[in-house]
Subunit: 329 residues, 2 copies
DNA sequence: CTGAAAGCGCTAACAC
DNA sequence: GTGTTAGCGCTTTCAG
């Protein structure tokens, strides 16, 4: 039925070994036999069975991607970057959504290992203790993209959210805009904590105690953003730093709906840098996180790891800037 | 190094066959031996090698997804629906982005077949003649989601865009809003043509010739939407039907930037129903395409096909409605 | 430069 | 119920 390497060998009057060699670009094949084999391959329309190949070679040219939610613009931008470089290096990608559920994360990881993927990329995610153990045990290259992880020896790529948050807070403080709200999204506790520390450092530099000025809230999507708007105003916030772009837009429209002038009354800076930030009016000021690049660089790092090339630094920090648009004064 | 079925068999003092049986839930195993085997599996922390399994059983529990761009909200919503039901049925998903490039589509398809996926889902895409031949030859279940395809015998799931477009146009005509713009996105020519036919039918029903009233434009993203706004006004459009949500928002903001009152001067209806439509002000009227469901139903259909269950109808049309929000009067 | 043969880790008849 | 035995389609020594 389906044509195998054996059929090709027979037709070309060579051994399977030789066919295998031309398939894999092994130079130890006389040009003429190579041509002969290639002709037969074309004629028979032969395509090697990647599964058999994987079993024999212990390499599947497949990498697993564990992602909270592919329909979240933040993650899908990362995923796109990652997939593009995977394609360059001839890797396929198996994607699993976890909704940040630890159990799902572990299942996904174990499934991927069963499938003998050559490497795994985590986007966001919590990496519970169990998963960490599994990583340890599986002995397979893993890299984390776009999500801080607490004291873990896994290679990762991200921007420095501590510095970014500190920079934003400092600017606000300098403008005498001190009553800040920090609206977390529950994406990565570790990272959100880092940002909070950054803001506190900014207050500290100004001789102030951040705890007296920073109010914490949580909103991840548009609706919850809109819902917390009144609370922000009631608590006299001058500005908010919002992790989730959708929540930021929700807050913005909360202002719109309540007839509150923005950014006069409340300034907003969001932190995810999805396409959304410039697709609303007023445009939202935000950290320019290089999402696509984080994914791309992460995958590049993984290819190196899978290839056992040495890597200069396994935790890479990409540059960012803060774009002040029209939700800030 | 890694523990295999053979190790489990030895430790449990049974044959590999028996281990395989408990692994696959084969009922022909005495409960006590089943327990014995399971204990050893746990103790050894054994996990079957899915690649070996795939080779032996000719089933990989993996399905391929060919998608224009995962970072496009329209497609990622479909993908999420699809992935959720894939997970329910214990399938993993290999995703490939094609940017609607025929060559990439064909490569992706062939790669997926090499990997012995059990089925393939196309989201959007052009399905050039070559790919159609490949589908024919590969003899593997394929379903197309969220994209019309011209005269092709491949199972698919979508909504009836012809009727939707006709309904919208009829409403406009009845309101004496006859100078329509149709802003295509280049997603699926076939489908966009279908919509155009639908609009023409609406004019025809009103005793009018659609060609005299409908102006065609193309814009796929936010910026091009904004860019074509002046042209729409210069050509005296009363309303536009826009395939891409992002383009629709672009047009909306084009109006904003030019100080043109919307929807008084120009009404907008968009057709992709991504989350974006309710995340701008004014909220955009749109066809309520059940994106998630299209993906979910498509994957469910594929599981049936892969399982060789019989299927009532291989082209399924999901219900939709038209939501008139605040970009229409 | 090429071929023979031994697996890779598992499933699936087929016996018993 | 359980074990034996062939493969699945390929890569990879090892000879020559």
């Amino acid at each position: 039925m389906t044509v195998t390497i054996y059929d090709v060998a027979r037709e070309a009057k060579v051994s399977m070994a030789t066919v295998s060699r031309v398939l894999n670009g092994n130079p130890n094949v006389k040009p003429e036999t190579r041509k002969k084999v290639k002709d037969v391959i074309d004629r028979l329309n032969y395509r090697p069975n990647a599964v058999a190949r994987g079993l024999a070679s212990k390499k599947t040219t497949t990498v697993g991607v564990i992602i909270p939610d592919i329909s979240d613009l933040y993650y899908s931008a990362l995923a796109r970057g990652l997939e593009d470089v995977a394609e360059m290096y001839n890797y396929q990608i198996i994607i699993t959504n976890t909704d940040q559920d630890s159990q799902k994360e572990e299942n996904a990881f174990l499934n991927l290992v069963s499938k003998q993927v050559d490497g795994i990329i985590f986007l966001g995610g919590k990496l519970s203790g169990k998963v960490r153990e599994d990583i340890e045990r599986a002995n397979i290259p893993v890299v984390i993209c776009g999500s801080g992880q607490d004291a873990i020896e896994v290679p990762s790529v991200n921007i420095n959210y501590y510095e970014a948050a500190k920079e934003i807070a400092s600017k606000f403080i300098a403008d005498d805009t001190k009553h800040l709200g920090f609206v977390t999204g529950g994406y990565s506790r570790y990272q959100e904590n880092l940002m909070l520390e950054g803001m506190k450092a900014a207050f500290s530099d100004a001789g102030l105690n951040g705890d007296d000025y920073i109010m914490l809230e949580e909103a991840r999507d548009y609706d919850s953003g809109r819902d917390i708007f009144p609370k922000l105003i009631d608590n006299n916030r001058d500005a908010v730093i919002v992790v989730s772009d959708e929540a930021a837009i929700g807050i913005l429209h909360g202002g719109h709906d309540h007839g509150v002038a923005m950014p006069q009354r409340l300034q907003i800076v969001s932190c995810s840098n999805t396409r959304l930030v410039t697709m609303v009016r007023p445009k939202i000021s935000s950290i320019s996180v290089p999402l696509y690049d984080i994914g791309a660089v992460g995958m590049r790092l993984l290819t190196k790891l899978m290839n056992e090339e040495k890597v200069d630094s396994s935790v890479v920090e990409l540059p960012y800037s803060v774009e002040y648009r029209t939700t800030t004064r």
